[in-house]
Amino acid sequence: MWKWLHPYANPEVSYHFTGKLLPWLSTLATLFLSIGIIWALAFAPADYQQGDSFRIFYIHVPAASLSMGIYLGMAIAAFTSMVWQFKLADASAAAMAPVGAVFTAIALITGAAWGKPMWGTWWIWDARLTSELILLFLYLGVIALHSAFEDKNLAGKAAGILTLVGVINLPIIKYSVEWWNTLHQGSTVSKLGKPSMSVDMLWPFLFCFLGFALLVGVIICIRFRSEILTRNSIRPWVRTLVSAHLTQEKNNAVR
């Protein structure tokens, strides 16, 4: 049943496959993000209570949910690599960590910039904010472990253990607004059933979310390809690829 997946376990096939995927993903990401952001900033109606400050929502919520989604993906990759000794999974986990860290930072910063006018404070030790900050530290730890060892297999193992231990933080973030009744509001979009949001506010959100998700795909693809090259630098296919790249560069310089 899963046989069609087998060729993608080959680093060379994955490298070329992600290379072909990249232009499509980038085009779609640019399209959805530009439509979504312009719609969100200029055309979506202002909130009846929060006014135009609510437009921060269109970055804050996609960034926050993607920061958790990327962590989940990283945890699945770490688990795969640990159980089935699947080396490409380590490369993908290493590619995901910096992207997740940046999205967590964006969620925290936009949250602070939204909290100041609405709550009257940049930061408060609310359950949601604190657990999201811990997520940022988990990402930083994973990045540090990936670069701490010369041996990439060992690095992948150490970072994988930290990733899997940190998974406990995901349900804490998700349900923090229900378990502890503090300042952060409950979820608006990802409710079961109907989202409690008017349609002309929801559509630009969906565009923004999809755009950011595609952008995550683009950046992970770029980083994944670099990780594959570093981990396979002595393989013949990498050698031919690198020398082809060099001759092309020389030709460009001559012209």
């Binding site: 006014g51 964006i106 910063i109 939204w114």
Partner: protein, 78 residues
């Protein structure tokens, strides 16, 4: 369009600073991440290439040395 003029758009109903701070910081962080990912990729390729060239050179030197050593006894015989 929700805004009557460009200045109203920039003002964001009085929340301009917070809205543009959020969008600005997010854009800057993402642009930085994309830029560093792309430059890192070319750097990885260049690093592998330089290592490869060094190895090739080393191999060439060893080969030359071996050849000259093989040639030396012949010269002595003459």
């Amino acid at each position: 369009m929700q805004f009557d003029s460009f200045s109203a758009f920039l003002n964001m109903g009085g929340y301009g600073f917070y809205v543009w701070l959020s969008f600005g910081v997010s854009t800057a962080l993402l642009a930085g991440l994309i830029f560093s990912s792309i430059t890192n990729h070319t750097k990885v390729i260049k690093d592998i290439a330089t290592r490869q060239q060094r190895e090739d050179k080393l191999r060439q030197v060893r080969k030359d040395r071996k050849n000259s050593k093989n040639n030396e006894p012949k010269e002595e015989n003459q």
